[in-house]
C-alpha cells in the first residue's frame, strides 16, 4: 500500500485497502475556520443533536474575516468567538494566523494521521506526512458529531523531483512546473505523493507548499512522507504535544507499493515560473512575461506567507527599495515573531514593504488590499482566478517569493536570477 492507502487502512481499522474501496474512517483531527465554521455549521449541528464527538480533536481558527473590514465581518467573528466560548474548545486560535499553518506549527497535525478540514487548503497538513482532506462545512459538521467520514480510497500518483535545488528556485516553482506539465485537473479523486532528493532536503515550510498546491492539481490530498528531520520536530518537543499518537501511524508507503503513475522532474532544468491569469495551470517562465508593469506585489497566504517565504523575499530585498508597493501578510503570528527575531522583518521593512496582520489576508478576496479594475498584482497567494483578490478584471500573477520580491524592486515582472 502507498502511504495514503496505509493511513486510510489504519483509520478504517482494516489491514488492507485498495483504490476505489469505500470505507468509513475514524478522523484524528477536524479543523475549521471563521468562514466555514460555527456560522455555517451551527444549524446542522443542532439537527444532528448538537453533541460534539471529541472537543480535544477539534480545531477552530479565526483567519478569513480578521481583521474585520466591516460590521458583517465583525458579526461573523463574534458568532465564532461565542461558539468557541460556549463549547469550551481547547484549540481555538483567534486572529493569530491561518488555520492550515497553525495545525503544522502548533504540532496539532501529526504524521500518519487522518485530518479533515472545512477548507480546500486543508491539504497543507500533508506536509508532515498526514492524510489531510478538505470538505465542505456540512460534511465537517457530521464529522464533528460522529468522528467519522466516508472515503473512497484514491489511487496515488507519485511526483519525483530529481537533483538538488538551484538557489533561484523555490518549492513554489516546483508546484507550478507540475501544474504546467500535468494541468489543473490531472489529480482529481487522486492522492499525490511528493518525493525525490530535492523534496527529501525540504524543510516543513517547503513541504507545505507542495502539499498545499495539491488541491490546485485537483487532488484529494497531497502528501510528503516525513523525513528524519521532520520527525525530529516531534521527538524533540519536551511537551510531547507533537508526538504522534500511540497506535503506530504509518510514516511511509510499503517498499514496491503500486502507484497509478509516476512523473519525474529534474529541478536543475526548471527556470523561475509564474502562473498567469486566469488559471493556476497557465504557467510559463517568468522570463517570458518579464517587463509587464505591476500595480501591486503581495506576499502572503497559507502557501506563500510562511517564515521561509519572507526569508526568501529578504534575500532579494536586502539593501534595496521596492518600486511597486509590496504588502506582506505573514501566515501566523509566530511567523512575525520568528522573522522579527532573525532580522528578516527589518530587511523587508527597510526595503519599503508594508507588513499587515497575520491571517488569510487578501488571498481570500475579503479585505487587506483588494485589487481594483484592471490592476495587476504579482503574488505568492494560492490562486489567480478572476476576481479572487478583488475586481474580476484585475490580473493576478502567481510566483515564488523570490520572483515577487525581484518584481517589486523593478516595478515590472522580473526573473529573480537578475538579483541572485
Amino acid at each position: 500500500m502507498t502511504l495514503t492507502e496505509k493511513i486510510i487502512a489504519r483509520a478504517a481499522g482494516r489491514s488492507h485497502v485498495a483504490p476505489d474501496d469505500e470505507v468509513w474512517a475514524n478522523v484524528d483531527l477536524a479543523a475549521m475556520h471563521d468562514s466555514s465554521g460555527p456560522r455555517r455549521i451551527a444549524p446542522t449541528l443542532e439537527r444532528l443533536g448538537g453533541r460534539l464527538w471529541d472537543l480535544s480533536r477539534i480545531v477552530l481558527a479565526i483567519d478569513h474575516f480578521t481583521p474585520a473590514a466591516n460590521l458583517r465581518h465583525a458579526e461573523i467573528l463574534t458568532t465564532t468567538r461565542d461558539w468557541a466560548r460556549k463549547t469550551g474548545l481547547p484549540h481555538f486560535f483567534d486572529s493569530v494566523g491561518v488555520l492550515h499553518n497553525l495545525l503544522l506549527e502548533q504540532g496539532l497535525a501529526k504524521p500518519g494521521t487522518l485530518i479533515v478540514g472545512a477548507d480546500s487548503h486543508t491539504v497543507t497538513a500533508g506536509a508532515i506526512g498526514a492524510l489531510a482532506i478538505g470538505v465542505g462545512a456540512t460534511e465537517l459538521a457530521t464529522v464533528l458529531v460522529t468522528g467519522q467520514i466516508w472515503l473512497r480510497v484514491p489511487p496515488t500518483v507519485l511526483i519525483r523531483f530529481e537533483g538538488a535545488m538551484p538557489s533561484h528556485l523555490t518549492a513554489r516553482d516546483l508546484a507550478m512546473v507540475v501544474l504546467q506539465r500535468l494541468r489543473a485537473d490531472f489529480a482529481i479523486y487522486r492522492a499525490v505523493e511528493f518525493a525525490g532528493p530535492a523534496v527529501e532536503a525540504f524543510d516543513l515550510d517547503e513541504r507545505a507548499v507542495l502539499a498545499n498546491q495539491a488541491i490546485e492539481m485537483g487532488a484529494k490530498n497531497g502528501i510528503v512522507p516525513a523525513s528524519a528531520a521532520v520527525l525530529d520536530l516531534f521527538s524533540g518537543d519536551a511537551s510531547g504535544s507533537r508526538r504522534p499518537p500511540a497506535s503506530e501511524p504509518p510514516l511511509a508507503g510499503d517498499a514496491g507499493c503500486s502507484y497509478e503513475a509516476t512523473h519525474m522532474f529534474t529541478v536543475s532544468s526548471i527556470p523561475p515560473l509564474v502562473a498567469a491569469p486566469p488559471n493556476v495551470d497557465h504557467v510559463m517562465p517568468a522570463q517570458q512575461v518579464a517587463g509587464l508593469e505591476l500595480d501591486h506585489a503581495y506576499i502572503g497566504s497559507c502557501v506563500g506567507g510562511k517564515a521561509r517565504d519572507l526569508r526568501e523575499a529578504a534575500r532579494i530585498l536586502r539593501g534595496k527599495r521596492v518600486k511597486t508597493p509590496l504588502r506582506i501578510t505573514p501566515a501566523t503570528q509566530r511567523v512575525v515573531e520568528d522573522t522579527l527575531h532573525d532580522g528578516t522583518l527589518q530587511v523587508l521593512i527597510d526595503a519599503g514593504a508594508i507588513v499587515q496582520a497575520p491571517g488569510c489576508g487578501a488571498c481570500a478576496g475579503l479585505h487587506s488590499g483588494l485589487l481594483g479594475p484592471k490592476e495587476r498584482c504579482i503574488a505568492t497567494v494560492t490562486r489567480n482566478y478572476s476576481g479572487r483578490m478583488g475586481d474580476s478584471t484585475a490580473e493576478i500573477y502567481l510566483a515564488s517569493p523570490l520572483t515577487v520580491a525581484a518584481s517589486a524592486v523593478t516595478g515590472r515582472l522580473t526573473d529573480p536570477r537578475e538579483f541572485l
Binding site: 480546500s120 457530521t142 489543473a184 490546485e216 490562486r383 476576481g387
Partner: protein
C-alpha cells in the same frame, strides 16, 4: 428524492471555479441569500435569467478551488436542478451530494448547446438531449454518494446512521 428532471441547458466551459460560482465578496452573506449571486463571476445576468429546473452544463473540473459550500447553495437556490459535467472537483462534488443536489458526470458535454432542453433521469441513469435525441449514461453516483443523494443529503443520511447505531 426526485428522479426525472427536465430543463434548459446553460453551457459553460472547463475549470469553472467556485470563485466564479460565488465570488469571495459575497462570502460574508447569510447562506439563505447566496442564490442571488449564483455564477455572477461568469455571467452577471445568470441569477435573473435562469429558470427553476434548468441545468448547468460544463466541461472538466467543474467547481474547482475553494471548498465554499455556498457555491452549491447558490446554484440550488437559483433554481438549478443539477450540474452536468465531464468531471467535478471532488469537494464541490461532495458538497453537492451532501446537499441533495445532483452533480452528474457524462462522457461528453460538447454537443450540448445553450438552451437545449435536457432530461436527466436518475432512475435509468441517462441524460437525454431532447433537441438531438442523444442519450448519454450517467457515469458517477454509485455507492455511498448515491445513497447520500437518495436520502436528500448527508444530514439526513447521518441521522439515519446514528439511529442505526443505537
Amino acid at each position: 428524492m426526485q428522479h426525472i428532471y427536465e430543463g434548459q441547458a446553460w453551457v459553460f466551459g472547463d475549470h469553472v471555479n467556485t470563485d466564479q460560482i460565488l465570488p469571495g465578496r459575497f462570502l460574508d452573506r447569510p447562506m439563505d441569500e447566496v442564490g442571488r449571486y449564483a455564477l455572477v463571476g461568469l455571467d452577471a445576468s445568470f441569477p435573473e435569467r435562469v429558470a427553476p429546473g434548468d441545468f448547468v452544463v460544463a466541461g472538466l473540473n467543474f467547481g474547482c478551488g475553494s471548498s465554499r459550500e455556498a457555491a452549491v447553495m447558490a446554484l440550488k437556490q437559483a433554481g438549478v436542478a443539477a450540474v452536468i459535467a465531464r468531471s467535478f472537483a471532488r469537494i464541490f462534488f461532495r458538497n453537492a451530494i451532501n446537499n441533495g443536489f445532483p452533480a452528474v458526470i457524462i462522457a461528453e458535454t460538447s454537443a450540448i448547446r445553450p438552451s437545449d432542453r435536457l432530461r436527466l433521469d436518475l432512475g435509468t441513469r441517462v441524460v437525454t438531449n431532447l433537441r438531438t435525441g442523444e442519450a448519454l449514461s450517467v457515469q458517477n453516483l454509485t455507492g455511498t454518494s448515491q445513497e447520500i443523494l437518495q436520502r436528500g443529503g448527508i444530514v439526513a443520511y447521518t441521522l439515519a446512521r446514528i439511529q442505526q447505531a443505537r
